[in-house]
Assembly symmetry: C2
Homo-oligomer: 651 residues x 2
C-alpha cells in the first residue's frame, strides 16, 4: 500500500500538486475542511462552478455527438470522447488549486445509483421493443444469468490465484475476489445502446446484447451483495446454494414488485379522472416508476429489475390509459433524462480517474485483470451460444416435423444457427464494462479497496475505449448488418414521423424481413413532403402536425447518403405504438405469414419466431387479450384486423 | 440559547425522543457517525428509504392536488396540504429511531438553490406571457425594487429595535437585522403561481404579483448577500450607496448574461443542423439554460435573474429555431420539472420544521416577526401603489390631451386607477413568503443563527397557511375577477387544444376585454368535438391531433360548472405562440382598436396599454422586427397582417 504507482505518466503531475485533501471517502457526502466551512458564500460559488463545469462537459459531449453524427464520422465514438473530456477536465481540476470543485465532481456511488442509473433503466423498459425482447428472452436469460455467473467465477478464480502469488502485495479472500468478479461482469447497457442505436444494428443481435447487459447489471449487483454478505465468514459448500437461492428470490420478487406497481398505475389511471389534469398525471407516472426503484432497493431487492419491469408494464398497459399529452410527455422526458444520464456517466468516469485522490494504481494487476475479463467473457459467451444453438436445432427439428403434416415451410433443409458465429463474436466484443461496475467497486471492503477500485476504474475505461472504439470496425469485419431501421426506435417520435422515411434498404439489401414486426405500406403519393397511408386515423393525424414546416431528411437517410432518392415511391411507414398490443400480434402474424424470407441470417431470425409464437407468446397473448387488457385498459383497441388474422391462422 | 422552547406543543415529543444526533449543520452535507460509516449497504438502503418517503410525499401532494381540483374544493389549498404532509412525516421520522433518514431529508440550501429553484425560474421565464409582463413592467419593477427595499428596511429596523430590548436574549447587529429583513422580503413565486393559476385570476393582477415575486427573490438574494458582506464591519452612510450600486450592477450584469446566453442558443440553433437530432437539441437547450444559472451564480451575480431572462429570450427567439419536437419537449419538460420542484419545496418546508434538530423556537420573536412582515408589506405596497396611480394619472392626462387632436377615445371622463384599491389589497395579501427565505436564512451567520432560522421557518409556514389558505376567500371578498382564461396558459398545451374551449365568460361577464392580447374568432361549427377556425395552418393542425379520441371538458369549464353549455356557438380560440412576436403586435393592435371596452376595471387595464404602446413597446417592437429577428430567427414569420394593421394605425 505504501508505493503509490500512478497510471499513465500522472506521477509528475501528482508530485507537482500537493494533494490538497485527505478526505475519508467512506463518508457519504463531502466534508469541507475548516477554512471553508465558515464561508457558505464561497461554498455556494464553488458548487456553482462545479455544476457549471459538469454541465459544460455534458454540452460538449452532446455537441460532439451531434458533430460526429452530422459528419458521419464512425472512427471515434462519442462515449470515448466523453471519457476523454472528463479526463482532460479532471486533470485540470486536479492541478488547479483548491479542492472544493475536486470534491464536488468526485464519483459518488449514491449519486450514481439514485440519480444517474434509474432514468436509463426506466427509459430502457419504456422504449423496449417488447416483441423482440420476449421473442429472444431465452437467449437473453441464458447469457444474463449463467453467463454472468460463469464470468464472475472465472474472474474471481483467476484474480484469487494471481493475488495469492503476492506479486502486487494485494491479498484477497475468495469471496472478495468473487465480488470483484461480479463487479467486472456487469456489462454496460449504456454504451451498447448508444453504439448500436447509432449504427442501427440488426434488431435481433441488438435485443440480445441489450437485454443481456440490462439484466446483467441487476445480476451483478445481486451477486456482489451476496458476496459481501459472506465477507469475512467461512465458506461452505452450502453457501453456493444459499447464494443461488438468495439470488433467485431477489430476482423474482423484484420482478413482481415492478409488474405490480406498473399494473397499479394502469388501474389508477383507468379508474380516476386524472387524465383531465395531464400535468399532474405526467408527474405521477414518473414518480411512481421511481418509487418502484427506491422501494425495491429499500427492501433489499433489486431496484434495477423492478424498474425495468415497471417500465415494461407501464408501456404495455398504463400507456393506453394516459392522456395523449402524458403519453408524449413521458416519452420525451424519459428519453431526455436517460440521454443526459448516459452522457454524464462517461464524463463522470473520465473525471474520476483524476479526481479520486486515493486510488492506488498497480499496472500489472490492471493488465492481468483486463486479460481475465476477456477470458471470462469468452468462456461465458461461446459455450452458452453453442448450448443455445443445440437446443434451438433440437426444437427446430421437432417444429419442422410437426409442420410436415400441414405442408408448411418444411422445405428448408439447412438449419441455421440461432446465434451464428459472427453474432457470438459480436456478443463477446460487446462486453464493455460500465459505470455499474465502478459504482459497485466503491462498495468493496477491506484494505485492498483502493487498489481494486483503481483497477476496476481503469479496466472499465479501457474496455470502453478499446471495445467501444472498435465496435464499428468489428461490425464491418464480421459482416453484421447495420443501417437496419428498427421500427420501434422511430415510433416514439410523433414529430419525426413528419419527415419522410423512405425505405432505402428495400432496394439495396432487402434485409428488412428479419424484423418480424415490420410492415410495408404502399405509398399513396410521391414528394419530399412525405405522404402517409391512412392506416389509423387517431395516430396518423400526428403526421399532419407540421406538414407546413420545412423538414430536413431523416437521420437514417443522411447516413445512407442517398438524399437524392427522397422521391422513391416506397414509403416505409412505421408501426405505431398506439395500436395496443400490436407488437405481440405482429409477432404471431409475421411469424407464419411474412413474405420477406430471403437473406440467410434473416431466416434465422424469422424462424426463431416459432419458439416464441408456438409456446410462450400464444398463451400469454391470449391471456393478455382476454383477461388482462379488459381489466387494465380503459378503452380496448379496435384494431381487430390483426387479431382476426391470427385467429384465422391458428385455427 | 440554553432554553429550547418548542413551538406548538412539540415539547412533549421532544422530550420523549432523545435527540439522536448532534451533527454540525455547518457542514455542507451529511456526516454519518461511526457505526454506520462502515456499512455502505445499510447506508444505501436508508438513502433509498429516504428517497422513497420524499417521492411518496410528492405523490400524495400531487394526488391531493388532483382531488381538490376534481372536487372543486377551494377551502383548502394544496400547498397547505403539502406542508401538512411534510410536517406529519417529519414528526414520524423525528420520533422513529435512527437518524440517517432524518439527516437525508433535512432542508439543504445547496439542494434548494442548485436543484429545486432553477426549474421553477426557468419555467416561469419560458411560460411568461411576454406582452403582459412588459406591459406591466413599470408596476412590477416598482414593487420589486423599491418595494423589497422598503420591506427589508422596515423589518430590519423593527427587529433591531425589538432585539435591542433584550426580551428574548437575542442580540443582533443592524446589518444582520437587515439581512433577516431581506430574507423575509422574498415573496414566493411558487405559491402565487399555484394559487392564481388555479383560480385563473385577472391576468393583469396575476402578472404584477407574479412578476414582483419573481424579481423580488433575486433582489432579496442580492440584498442578503450585500448585507452579509457588511457583517461585522462598521457601517457608514456611504455603505448605503455602495450597497445600492452593488445591487444595480449585479442586476444589470445578470440580465445581460441571461439575454446573451439566450441569444447564443438562438444563433447556434439557426446556424447548425442540430434540429435534425431533436433529442440532442432538447438536451442542449435545457443544459445551456442551466449553464446561465450556474455561470451567473459562480460569477457572484444573480443566477435567478440570468435564468429568468435566459428563459424569456429562449422563448422569444430560440424557440422558433427549434424543431417541433424540441419545442414540445422543452415545454413539457420545463413544466414537469417546475411542478415537481414546486410541490417538493412545500413538503421540504413542512419536513424541516421537525427534522432540523437544532432549531431554537422563541414564540414571542416569531409573533413579533410575523406582525412585522405584515407592517413591512403594508408600508411597501400601499404607498408605492399610490405613487403608481399618481404617475399613471399624470401620463394619462397627457395622453388624452394628445389624443384630443385626433378625436380618439378622449370621451372618457373618469380616470380609473392603475392599481385599484382591491388590487392593492390583493397584492398585500399575496405577500406569502416561501422557500427562498428559508434557504437564505440557512446562510445567516452569528450566534443567533438557529433562533433566526427557526423564526423564519415558522413565519414562512404561517404566511403560507394563513395568507395562502385565505386567498380564495380574499379574492371573493375583494370582488376580483377569477375564472379568466389566460390565453397564454393554454397555448403551451398542444394536446389540450383538442378539448373544446368555449368562451363561457363572454356570455356572463364580458370581462375578456381586459386581456389586450385576446382575439375572438367566430366559430365555424358547433359540437362537443370542438371546431376551430383555421387561423394558421401550421399551428392549427395541432388541434387535429386527437380528434378521434374521447376528451373530457377542460378544467376551466368544469370549474365554471357549466358543462351543459358546451354547445355554445362562440369558441374562444387561443392565441398561438407559433406566431412570432404576435404578443407584442397584439399589444399595439389592441391598445387602440379593441372593441371590448365595457367593464370598469378592464378599461383600466386596457388604457394601461397606452403607456407601453406609446413609448417602450413601439421602438422595441420595431427594433425586434427589423433587426433582431432577421438576425436571430431562421424563418421569419409570415403573419404580416397585424404588422400592416399596426403600421396603418401608427401613420
Amino acid at each position: 500500500m505504501s508505493s503509490i504507482i500512478l497510471f499513465a505518466g500522472k506521477e509528475i503531475l501528482k508530485r507537482a500538486v500537493k494533494t490538497p485533501v485527505d478526505l475519508d471517502d467512506e463518508l457519504p457526502e463531502i466534508t469541507t475542511p475548516d477554512e471553508e466551512e465558515t464561508d457558505p458564500v464561497a461554498e455556494e460559488m464553488f458548487s456553482s462552478w462545479a455544476l457549471f463545469i459538469l454541465l459544460f462537459l455534458l454540452c460538449s459531449a452532446l455537441w460532439s455527438s451531434y458533430f460526429l453524427q452530422q459528419r458521419r464520422i464512425k472512427a471515434i465514438h462519442e462515449t470515448v470522447l466523453s471519457i476523454f473530456y472528463g479526463m482532460v477536465v479532471g486533470l485540470i481540476i486536479r492541478v488547479s488549486p483548491g479542492h472544493y470543485i475536486q470534491d464536488a465532481v468526485k464519483f459518488k456511488s449514491s449519486y450514481f445509483f439514485n440519480i444517474l442509473l434509474p432514468p436509463i433503466i426506466l427509459n430502457s423498459g419504456y422504449e423496449l421493443h417488447q416483441a423482440n425482447f420476449f421473442r429472444n428472452l431465452g437467449s437473453i436469460l441464458t447469457f444474463a444469468i449463467p453467463g454472468t455467473f460463469i464470468s464472475s467465477l472465472v474472474v474471481g478464480i483467476i484474480l484469487y490465484i494471481w493475488t495469492s502469488l503476492g506479486l502486487d502485495g494485494v491479498k484477497l479472500e475468495f469471496v472478495d475476489a468473487l465480488a470483484v468478479g461480479a463487479t467486472l461482469s456487469a456489462t454496460d447497457p449504456v454504451t451498447i445502446l448508444s453504439i448500436f442505436n447509432a449504427y442501427k444494428v440488426d434488431p435481433k443481435l441488438y435485443t440480445i446484447i441489450f437485454g443481456e447487459s440490462l439484466l446483467n447489471d441487476a445480476i451483478s449487483i445481486v451477486m456482489f451483495e451476496t458476496c459481501q454478505k459472506f465477507h469475512g465468514k467461512a465458506l461452505h459448500f452450502s453457501s453456493l446454494f444459499e447464494g443461488i437461492g438468495l439470488f433467485l428470490m431477489t430476482f423474482t420478487i423484484s420482478t413482481i414488485i415492478g409488474i405490480l406497481i406498473g399494473i397499479l398505475v394502469a388501474l389508477i389511471l383507468k379508474h380516476s379522472h386524472i387524465r383531465r389534469y395531464p400535468q399532474i398525471e405526467t408527474c405521477l407516472v414518473l414518480l411512481v416508476a421511481y418509487e418502484s426503484y427506491f422501494f425495491s432497493n429499500g427492501a433489499h431487492m433489486s431496484g434495477i429489475v423492478s424498474l425495468l419491469f415497471c417500465g415494461i408494464t407501464l408501456k404495455h398497459y398504463a400507456y393506453y390509459n394516459m392522456s395523449r399529452r402524458t403519453q408524449i410527455a413521458t416519452k420525451y422526458i424519459f428519453q431526455l433524462l436517460a440521454q443526459l444520464s448516459e452522457n454524464f456517466i462517461f464524463i463522470y468516469l473520465g473525471l474520476s480517474l483524476f479526481t479520486e485522490v486515493e486510488l492506488v494504481f498497480k499496472p500489472l494487476l490492471i493488465i492481468i485483470t483486463f486479460g481475465t475479463i476477456c477470458v471470462a467473457r469468452w468462456s461465458a459467451v461461446f459455450p452458452l451460444s453453442r448450448l443455445l444453438n443445440f437446443l434451438y436445432k433440437a426444437r427446430f427439428k421437432e417444429f419442422v416435423h410437426r409442420l410436415g403434416a400441414n405442408g408448411g415451410i418444411a422445405s428448408t433443409n439447412v438449419i441455421p444457427d440461432e446465434i451464428s458465429h459472427s453474432y457470438q463474436m459480436m456478443i463477446f466484443w460487446a462486453g464493455l464494462r460500465g459505470a455499474v461496475g465502478v459504482a459497485l467497486a466503491m462498495g468493496i471492503q477491506g484494505e485492498a479497496k483502493w487498489t481494486l477500485l483503481a483497477t476496476v476504474l481503469v479496466v472499465v475505461v479501457l474496455t470502453v475505449i478499446l471495445f467501444g472504439g472498435t465496435t464499428a470496425s468489428m461490425l464491418e469485419i464480421l459482416g453484421i448488418k447495420i443501417g437496419v431501421i428498427d421500427e420501434h426506435a422511430e415510433s416514439d417520435d410523433e414529430f419525426e414521423i413528419e419527415a419522410p422515411r423512405l425505405d432505402l434498404n428495400s432496394s439495396n439489401n432487402n434485409s428488412n424481413g428479419i424484423l418480424g414486426s415490420r410492415r410495408f405500406v404502399p405509398s399513396t403519393g410521391i414528394g419530399s413532403k412525405g405522404v402517409f397511408g391512412g392506416k389509423d386515423v387517431r395516430s396518423r393525424t400526428d403526421s399532419q402536425v407540421s406538414l407546413g414546416t420545412f423538414r430536413v431528411p431523416s437521420q437514417s437517410q443522411l447516413q445512407n447518403g442517398l438524399p437524392g432518392s427522397l422521391n422513391s415511391s416506397s414509403a416505409d411507414l412505421m408501426n405505431d405504438d398506439d395500436e395496443v398490443g400490436s407488437d405481440l400480434e405482429d409477432l404471431l402474424h409475421n411469424g407464419t405469414s411474412s413474405n420477406n424470407l430471403n437473406s440467410g441470417e434473416s431466416s434465422g431470425g424469422l424462424l426463431g419466431n416459432f419458439l416464441g409464437s408456438d409456446e410462450h407468446s400464444k398463451w400469454f397473448t391470449r391471456f393478455d387479450e382476454q383477461v388482462l387488457k379488459p381489466v387494465l385498459l380503459d378503452n380496448l383497441p379496435s384494431d381487430k384486423k390483426y387479431k382476426d388474422d391470427n385467429d384465422g391462422q391458428s385455427k
